[in-house]
C-alpha cells in the first residue's frame, strides 16, 4: 500500500509536468491544427536558460524566494519570446500551406532549437544545484514527499486552474475559444487572429518553461536532447485527453504520469514506453478523438 501511494505521489508529480507541457501542444493545436514538434525542445531549452539565469544572477549558493521567482519569471519570459519568434518565422508563413508543410517546418524548428542548445551549452549533461528548493521532506508512514514535489504539484495546479479560468472567464479567453472554433468567423467578428495566436504561443511556451525548470530542479540532470522524451510523453498525454481540449491535456498528463509511475513501480521500466503506447492505442481504438476530445462530424 505504501508503494502504491508513493508511486501515486511520484506519478502525479511527473504527470503535472506532462500536463504543463501538454497544454502547450494542445493550445497550439486547438487554434492552428498544428502539432508543434518544436515544443519539447523549447521545454529542454528552458532548463538550460533557467540554469544560466540562476548561476549568472545569483551564483551557485544563493537560495531565496526572490531568486527562485526571478529565475522562473525570467526564463518564462525568454522562452515565451522564443516561442513567439518560432511562430512568426516558422509557422506563420505556412498558415495557408498544406497542413503537413507546417509539420515539417516544426520538425525543422525542433532541430534548430535542439542544436542551438547543444552549441551554446555543450553536448554534455548539466546538473542543477541541489539547493534551489529546501531539502525538506515530509514522510507519512512509508510515504515520502519532498518540498520540490509539493512545489511542482502546487504551482502546476495553480497554473492550470488559472489557465482554465483565463480561457473560460476572460475576454481574451473567449476570443481564443472563438478562434479555435472558426478562424474566419472570428476574424469577421473583429478578433485579431494573429494576436490570439501570439498569446497562445506566449502562454504555451511559458508553461513549457515552468515545466522545463521543474524538470531541472526535480531530476537535476538535463541534456540538450531531453526535449524529445518529455515532448513525446506530453504530446501523447494531449492526444489521450483529446488534442485541442484544455482540460483534456490536464487529465491526459496526470493520467499518463500516474500510469507510468505504476508501470515502473509494479512491472518494469524496461517496458514503460510500450505500456504507454499500448494504453494510448487502446484509448484511441475506443475513443478515436481521445477521452475528452469531441468528435467533429464534417458538415457536408
Amino acid at each position: 500500500m505504501d508503494i502504491f501511494i508513493q508511486q501515486m505521489v511520484n506519478g502525479l508529480t511527473i504527470g503535472s509536468l506532462y500536463a504543463l507541457v501538454a497544454l502547450g501542444y494542445t493550445m497550439v493545436y486547438g487554434v492552428m491544427r498544428l502539432i508543434n514538434f518544436a515544443h519539447g525542445d523549447l521545454v529542454a531549452m528552458s532548463a538550460f536558460v533557467g540554469l544560466t539565469v540562476y548561476t549568472q544572477i545569483f551564483g551557485e549558493n544563493i537560495t531565496s524566494l526572490v531568486a527562485v521567482i526571478t529565475v522562473f519569471v525570467f526564463t518564462a519570459a525568454i522562452v515565451a519570446l522564443v516561442g513567439v519568434l518560432l511562430e512568426r518565422l516558422a509557422y506563420r508563413p505556412l498558415r495557408t500551406a498544406p497542413r503537413l508543410s507546417a509539420v515539417v517546418s516544426a520538425l525543422g524548428a525542433g532541430l534548430v532549437i535542439q542544436n542551438s542548445v547543444m552549441l551554446i551549452w555543450g553536448p554534455n549533461m548539466k546538473i542543477f544545484p541541489s539547493n534551489i528548493f529546501p531539502s525538506t521532506i515530509w514522510s507519512f508512514g512509508g510515504v515520502v514527499i519532498t518540498f520540490t514535489q509539493v512545489m511542482i504539484l502546487g504551482l502546476s495546479s495553480i497554473l492550470m486552474v488559472g489557465l482554465y479560468f483565463f480561457i473560460n472567464r476572460t475576454k481574451i479567453g473567449t476570443a481564443i475559444r472563438a478562434v479555435a472554433i472558426d478562424q474566419d468567423a472570428a476574424k469577421l467578428m473583429g478578433i485579431n487572429v494573429n494576436r490570439i495566436i501570439m498569446i497562445i504561443f506566449v502562454i504555451g511556451s511559458a508553461l513549457g518553461a515552468v515545466a522545463g525548470l521543474f524538470i531541472g530542479v526535480y531530476y537535476r540532470g538535463v541534456t540538450f536532447d531531453m526535449g524529445w522524451m518529455y515532448g513525446l510523453n506530453a504530446f501523447v498525454a494531449a492526444i489521450m485527453g483529446g488534442i485541442g481540449n484544455i482540460p483534456g491535456a490536464m487529465l491526459g498528463g496526470l493520467m499518463l504520469g500516474l500510469f507510468n509511475a505504476m508501470i515502473t513501480g509494479y512491472i518494469s521500466s524496461q517496458w514503460a514506453e510500450t505500456f504507454t503506447f499500448v494504453l494510448l492505442i487502446v484509448i484511441l481504438v475506443f475513443r478515436p478523438t481521445g477521452i475528452l476530445g469531441e468528435k467533429v462530424a464534417e458538415k457536408v
Binding site: L94, A97, V104, G108, F277
Partner: protein, 316 residues
C-alpha cells in the same frame, strides 16, 4: 520524341549505372544506401503522399524486413535468399494487423499511433524478446547473397542489387499510379467524403497502401541488413521514421522525382557535410523550414493529368 523530364531521367540512369566505377568504397556504400533509402521513401510515399495517411512509423517496416533477414540468417542459419519472401511478407502481415484497428483515426491521432508502434517495435528489439533480436547491440555477421555457389559479396554487387530493387520499386509506383488503386488513394487523400460517394472504400485503400508500403520497405530492409552485414535498433527508430516522412514532404508528395530529390537532400547531403559535425543539423533544420516556406508542396511537386493521349486531343 522525348521531353525534358525523360531526358533528365535517362541521364540520371546512366550516371547511377556507372557510378560504382568512379567512387571509393565509402561513397559506394553511400550510393547503395541512397538507393535503399529511396525505396523506403517511395514506400512511405505510397502511404503518406498517395493515400494521405499521416504515417510516422515507417522505419518499423524497414526494420522488420532487416531483422527478418538477420534472424533467419544468423539465428537459424538459413541462406539470405530464403529470407527474401518472409522479409516482404512479414512486414505486410504486420501492417495489416496493426493498421487495421487504427486506420479510421483522424490524421494526427493516427500519426501518434504509428509513432507508438515504432517505439514499441524498438523496445521489443532492445529487450531481446525470445533471445532472437540481440538486444541493443543488434545482430552481426549477416551473410551475403549466394546463388549456385556464387557469392555476391563485393560492395559493387550490393550496389547493383539495390539498383535493381529501386527499379522494381519504381515499376510498382508507376503501375500503382496508373491503376484504380493508386487513383483511389488520391481521391481519398483529396476528399474523403467525395471519394466515398463515388464508391471508394476508404478503409480498404488505406490498408492497401499500408500493406504495399510495408512490403517494399521490408524488401529494402533485407537489402540494408545484407549491405552492412549487421542490424541494430537505432537504424529503425522514430528518428528514422521522421526522416522518411520528411523526405517525402520536402521532395514533393506523390512525385517520383520529388522523392528522389528528397532522399538525396535528407540523406546524401548530410554525408557530404559530415566534417561540419556540430553545426550540420542546425543548418539542416533551417533548410527544412526554408524549403517548406518557399516550396510548401515540396521541391518538385506532383503534377496530375497523367492521362492517355487519346483524351488530350481537344486540349489546347
Amino acid at each position: 520524341m522525348m521531353n525534358k523530364t525523360s531526358m533528365i531521367a535517362l541521364v540520371l540512369l546512366l550516371i547511377s549505372g556507372v557510378y560504382p566505377f568512379f567512387v571509393d568504397s565509402a561513397w559506394l556504400a553511400i550510393g547503395t544506401t541512397f538507393l535503399v533509402f529511396s525505396c523506403v521513401a517511395f514506400s512511405q510515399d505510397i502511404i503518406l503522399g498517395r493515400a494521405g495517411v499521416f504515417h510516422m512509423g515507417h522505419a518499423m517496416f524497414f526494420g522488420l524486413g532487416a531483422y527478418t533477414t538477420a534472424i533467419m540468417n544468423v539465428q537459424f542459419g538459413l541462406p539470405i535468399l530464403a529470407s527474401w519472401a518472409p522479409a516482404v511478407l512479414i512486414p505486410m502481415f504486420v501492417a495489416f494487423v496493426l493498421a487495421g484497428p487504427i486506420i479510421h483515426l483522424r490524421g494526427d491521432y493516427l500519426l501518434v499511433a504509428t509513432i507508438g508502434f515504432n517505439i514499441i517495435f524498438i523496445q521489443v528489439l532492445e529487450n531481446d524478446v525470445f533471445g532472437l533480436t540481440g538486444g541493443p547491440n543488434g545482430i552481426f555477421g549477416i551473410d551475403v547473397v549466394r546463388l549456385f555457389g556464387f557469392e555476391f559479396a563485393s560492395q559493387t554487387y550490393m550496389y547493383y542489387m539495390a539498383f535493381i530493387l529501386l527499379g522494381i520499386t519504381l515499376f510498382i509506383m508507376r503501375t500503382l499510379d496508373r491503376s484504380k488503386f493508386g487513383r483511389a488513394m488520391f481521391y481519398i487523400n483529396k476528399d474523403e467524403i467525395a471519394a466515398q460517394s463515388m464508391g471508394v472504400s476508404v478503409r480498404y485503400y488505406k490498408l492497401y497502401a499500408f500493406i504495399i508500403g510495408a512490403g517494399i520497405a521490408g524488401a529494402a530492409g533485407s537489402m540494408f541488413s545484407v549491405q552492412y552485414s549487421a542490424v541494430s535498433p537505432e537504424a529503425f527508430d522514430v528518428t528514422q521514421s521522421i526522416m522518411f516522412f520528411t523526405i517525402v514532404l520536402v521532395g514533393g508528395s506523390a512525385s517520383l522525382p520529388g522523392v528522389l530529390i528528397g532522399t538525396f537532400i535528407m540523406f546524401v547531403l548530410p554525408e557530404v557535410f559530415r566534417e561540419f559535425e556540430t553545426a550540420r543539423y542546425l543548418v539542416f533544420g533551417l533548410a527544412m523550414i526554408l524549403t517548406m516556406i518557399l516550396r510548401p508542396r515540396g521541391i518538385w511537386p506532383v503534377r496530375f493529368g497523367n492521362i492517355p493521349n487519346f483524351l488530350k486531343k481537344d486540349v489546347k
